[in-house]
């Protein structure tokens, strides 16, 4: 295989994958896991979630080795099923996944208000901070400024090294008594699995590195990178969530705080600890926002070029060569999501939906592995999930179960008060899915018909071809 001048190294694939999953909302989701089960034993649920995500990473790896292209998930589904299914599921995944911006923006605004205080009113300040972060990231993408591989590596590994060090320090100095936790009425198989379902949220986005296959020397590196990233995330979260739980006071645990990591930092090292965590939070959110806008705007551009989205989304800036209409559309959508989250206050709803969505996509990917093996048994795969169909089947069963478990549960605040019944998450997702299916079956054929008409009116330029 010919080599490129610049190829990605394994460390960059790992940092990109782990960095995509690490955002401000994971701290709150981590605390929610600790409160669902027993704080000192939250690591069990995180280990379960991590192990299951590892199985999904294996399925993604096989698909990347089969189709090493940025078209990724659309192509897997298209070859396993058909184009309409690929469009409907692909767009459902991307658009519903974008909803995380609402939760992330809300929590980031909490961090900023905690830092600089309320200036006008809580609502106005929150919307200001949510908007400012989105607009900064949109502008960076509009100008085509990209973070180079080594900067991304450095930032991500510093963040993980910091979290691991803080966790080990806390656990070593404060100690963890798991004896009483083992006898807690909350420590049941059901609770452990419910918390593991939510734990899947901690890994959301690790699979968005599949397009990097085009920049590697060996396609297997992306699969290996994803698996190492899941391992790194599992270890870090397992230690950090328990450390944060034991590092917070009972009053703080029951306060319903949206900034547990900052309170934890202050408990450990006073105001300096808080400032360090504020910085880490900003770093994590901005890098996640940036990757999201970069990936989703390119996705929008590619879909428009392929006549799946209206052609206007394929417009490029004349100087920066960036898909400015796609970026603008995404920015407006993100601001609308932030406004929705702000007025409803339901950021936990979005976190729960993202966890369910991730379970759904893992099921889809596992089905693709099985179907593509049947349809194209002889096509070259540089990586194949071992033990035949066992792992994809386990994935389908377990993640379907976790998704249904999420839908059947009730989300409560730190005082045990019901926030919402999770079946509403299923209802919202079903509405999204129906809209996307209608789009794939009604709108896309029209866009493609219009494209065919344009093409038929155009004379072929190639000599000898009519």
């Amino acid at each position: 295989m010919p080599t490129l001048k610049k190829v990605l190294k394994l460390r960059t694939v790992v940092s990109a994958s782990a960095g995509l999953a690490m955002a401000t909302s994971v701290y709150l989701a981590g605390l929610q896991i600790a409160l669902t089960v027993v704080g000192e034993l939250a690591w069990i649920s995180i280990l379960v979630a991590g192990a299951l995500c590892m199985l999904s990473a294996m399925c993604f790896s096989e698909l990347v080795s089969l189709y090493p292209t940025a078209a990724g998930i659309k192509l897997y589904i298209q070859h396993a099923f058909n184009e309409k299914a690929a469009v409907a599921i692909g767009m459902f995944y991307v658009i519903t996944g974008t909803a995380i911006v609402g939760a992330e923006g809300y929590l980031l605004s909490s961090v900023m208000i905690e830092t600089v205080g309320v200036r006008v009113s809580m609502m106005a300040d929150r919307f200001f901070w949510m908007s400012i972060f989105i607009l900064i990231v949109a502008y960076i993408n509009y100008r085509g400024v990209s973070i180079t591989g080594w900067v991304q590596d450095l930032l991500t590994y510093i963040m993980f090294a910091f979290l691991l060090t803080i966790s080990i320090y806390t656990l070593a100095t404060r100690g963890v008594d798991i004896g009483p936790a083992l006898h807690s009425p909350n420590f049941t198989l059901g609770k452990v699995l419910t918390a593991a379902g939510l734990g899947v949220f901690l890994f959301v986005g690790f699979e968005w590195v599949t397009p990097l296959a085009e920049e590697t020397e060996d396609y297997r590196m992306v699969g290996k990178g994803m698996m190492l990233a899941v391992l790194l995330l599992t270890i870090t979260y397992s230690l950090f969530v328990v450390a944060m739980y034991v590092g917070l006071t009972d009053q703080q645990l029951k306060s319903g705080t949206t900034i547990p990591h900052i309170l934890f930092g202050r408990n450990l090292f006073g105001p300096t600890g808080g400032v360090i965590f504020i910085f880490m939070s900003l770093l994590a959110s901005l890098t996640s926002f940036n990757s999201g806008v970069l990936n989703f705007s390119r996705f929008g551009y590619a879909m428009a070029r392929a006549n799946i989205l209206p052609r206007v989304f394929s417009k490029l800036h004349p100087d920066y060569a960036t898909p400015w209409v796609a970026i603008l559309g995404l920015t407006i959508f993100a601001l609308a999501l932030c406004a929705f989250t702000l007025f409803s206050g339901q950021f936990m709803f979005i976190i729960t939906m993202a966890a369910a969505l991730e379970c759904f996509i893992y099921v889809v990917v596992s089905i693709c592995v099985i179907r593509l093996r049947k349809k194209y048994p002889d096509q070259e795969r540089s990586y194949k999930v071992p033990f035949g169909k066992l792992i994809p089947v386990v994935n389908i069963v377990v993640f379907s179960g976790l998704m249904l478990g999420i839908f059947a549960d009730t989300t409560r605040d730190s005082l045990g008060k019901i926030m919402f019944k999770n079946y509403w998450v299923a209802v919202v997702m079903a509405v999204f899915a129906l809209v996307m299916t209608a789009y794939a079956f009604v709108v896309v054929p029209r866009l493609q018909q219009a494209a065919r008409q344009r093409a038929s009116q155009r004379k072929r330029r190639r000599p000898g071809q009519s």
């Binding site: 078209a71 085009e214 920049e215 590619a302 006549n307 344009r454 093409a455 330029r461 190639r462």
Partner: protein, 119 residues
Amino acid sequence: MAATKDIMEALADYKEQCNNNQRLRRMQRDWSKLLHFVAKDTGDSFTMEVVKGEIIANEEGARGVPDIIVTATSEDMCDMFWGDLNPAQKYLDGEILVKASPEDVQRIDAITMIIWPES
């Protein structure tokens, strides 16, 4: 199957279209890359050198270490250089493979879109 001569002819036209398009030259003014095109059915390779948005060389064979490698059938490659094919569609269907950074993948497609917006 397109012959080497056909592809070189298509490349020559592509070069003219690109270099004479002021809008494209402005947009690609900071884009300097070495590209390899590989025809997967014939095994032929072609090299294109772009300096600051201007195609300065098209030649047979794979020269140097490329920034971008595009793999397609010889027919698709020919159609693509004549502007008779939407490369993004073929790329999303997995029929054209590109090894490059996502930014470069988008830039290559952008060339076709700007020269032949109706493709």
